[in-house]
Symmetry: C2
Subunit: 324 residues, 2 copies
């Protein structure tokens, strides 16, 4: 039986999230040949992180043959496509400007390219997911942070400096909740990230001491968005209210985004999407209520069709095919 | 002396504003050969309006020779490039969907094309004004309404349906001031349009009955943004506060827009720009304060370099050169 000849038909896709880093080897047709993950946290410096990443990937690279790999695409928070840097990412432990593609290319001896993690997910969705054939859409990633990738006229919007699409940091509630990382008040991410949902749950329990909630059975420091979801699907009134409120904020934000670029679709992606209709219904309601009539009942508000790990890896790897 | 041969080197540019409609004949190099204006209001139907417009333009068309005119470009609020329609424009007196290019082409017997008035102004600025050579910028028009045109990757963003760039209707202050036309609360236009400035002036005088203001010498129904400006430059404390507040709201809005498309420049345009530093300084302050560090001290916040009437006519006329 002949061994498959990959000859430069493989790309490495790496998705650096606030909590975990996922990686995979992807072929030209979008099949993930091998994949794995590691923690993004607890690496003193980016150099140590890249070294650890190399150790994770080395056996896989050897298995498929390094000569068959064209390059490495990376999605990262606050990633800059033009410079290959991660700059002042509030959800990562490293400060300042990190020249990540320089570090990666030196360690792996492979060309590398980098963009915003949400931009990468948007590209993955456009190539292999719910956005196939859609020329104007916005991808919103609801995970540790809230990210976004904006496609208009069939192109990713990078902005003049490569930083476009930081919708998680737009202010939705002026003088609202303080964000733990940016110190900005009332940003989308302060409410609609995993941490935001956790904080909303704690606030709602405090504001409603007379109401019983299963969420109260969990020690406050262990309460997270997953537990809120589990309580909500069991019918816990306050937990349902947490997702309703989260959807209200998200819906208001999406209305503003629609009036900016008038997308055909908004694709939601990431851990919070597990909440399904609990999140989607209030989000859609408040989005529609805050739109001018010309925008109402037009925008497809849908969940990603790709597995969370797949989309980010596929999108990041797609950067490789665009390398010169 | 030979008469200049224009042979199809002329375009008609028409800018339909909430109050006035401006028109001009423009050559390929951006010279406005002839121009004029008429009221947009008090025409019972779009047909009557187009007829009136034709009567205004007919003598000019005859003078330059109709055979030298390639077509008509129109900028209009809620204008749709794809369909040639004006749809549910809150600042115009006509309801519903108006098939304007059909009406214009039939009356003038010339091909016509239409876009959002602010999109047209953005194109004018890109071709002849402060945005020459800038691939990513946002044009904000501060007039009867607040409009916007967004250029990213060197292209106008139309969105999937031709309605992108309605930034005046994004919500900046949730549950804030009710907009007189849209019934939406807290939109940018509710504060940063000419009407918004007038309402802010009335509110601020009401909230500060102990403070003397020159604005109080004007009957309330005659107070407008021009008078507020005249009082402010004479040092009237409350009038200055009106522009400071207006700049605060505008700055917060612009910060959100920057985090969307990361433009190299934001170009302000329209009647309210007469306020100069009175508006620009607080706008810049609040924009910078509401930006993530990666966006700070980067965006050029500038006034249009074109005369107000010129930019809109030039931009509208530029649509003609793109006609097939």
């Amino acid at each position: 039986m002949a061994i498959t000849d990959f000859s430069k038909d493989l790309a490495i896709g790496i998705d650096i999230g606030g909590t975990n880093t996922k990686f995979g080897i992807v072929d030209h047709r979008g099949n993930i040949i091998e994949q794995g993950d590691m923690s993004t946290r607890d690496h003193a410096t980016p150099e140590v992180f890249v070294d650890e990443l190399y150790k994770c990937l080395e056996p896989i690279i050897t298995r498929v043959g390094k000569e068959n790999i064209k390059g490495i695409g990376i999605g990262a928070p606050n990633g800059n496509f033009y410079k290959g840097t991660i700059e002042y990412a509030p959800n990562l432990e490293w400060d300042g400007i990190i020249y990540l593609t320089d570090l990666v290319t030196e360690r792996f001896k492979l060309p590398s390219s980098l963009t915003n993690d949400a931009n990468a997910a948007a590209v993955g969705e456009a190539m292999y997911g719910a956005a196939r054939g859609i020329m104007d859409f916005i991808m919103i990633t609801l995970g540790t942070g809230v990210g976004s990738g904006i496609i208009a006229n069939g192109q990713l919007i990078y902005g003049h400096d490569g930083f476009a699409g930081e919708l998680g940091h737009t202010i939705i509630i002026p003088d609202g909740r303080m964000h733990w990382g940016t110190n900005m008040k009332g940003s989308l991410e302060a409410y609609c990230s995993a941490t935001g949902v956790r904080l909303t749950a704690l606030e709602i329990m405090k504001l409603n001491p007379e109401k019983k909630s299963m969420m109260a059975d969990v020690p406050a420091d262990q309460l997270d968005s997953r537990i809120v979801y589990e309580c909500a699907i069991k019918g816990d009134e306050l937990a349902i209210e947490v997702y309703r409120f989260t959807g209200e904020i998200l819906g208001k934000a999406l209305a503003n985004f629609v009036m900016f670029s008038s997308p055909e679709a908004i694709i939601l992606f990431g851990g919070l999407c597990k909440a399904g209709k609990l999140l989607l219904d209030p989000t859609r309601k408040h989005m529609e209520e805050n739109l001018l009539p010309i925008f109402q009942d037009k925008v497809k508000l849908i969940f990603s069709e790709l597995k969370e790990s797949d989309a980010a890896i596929l999108g990041a790897s797609a950067l490789v095919w665009e390398m010169k």
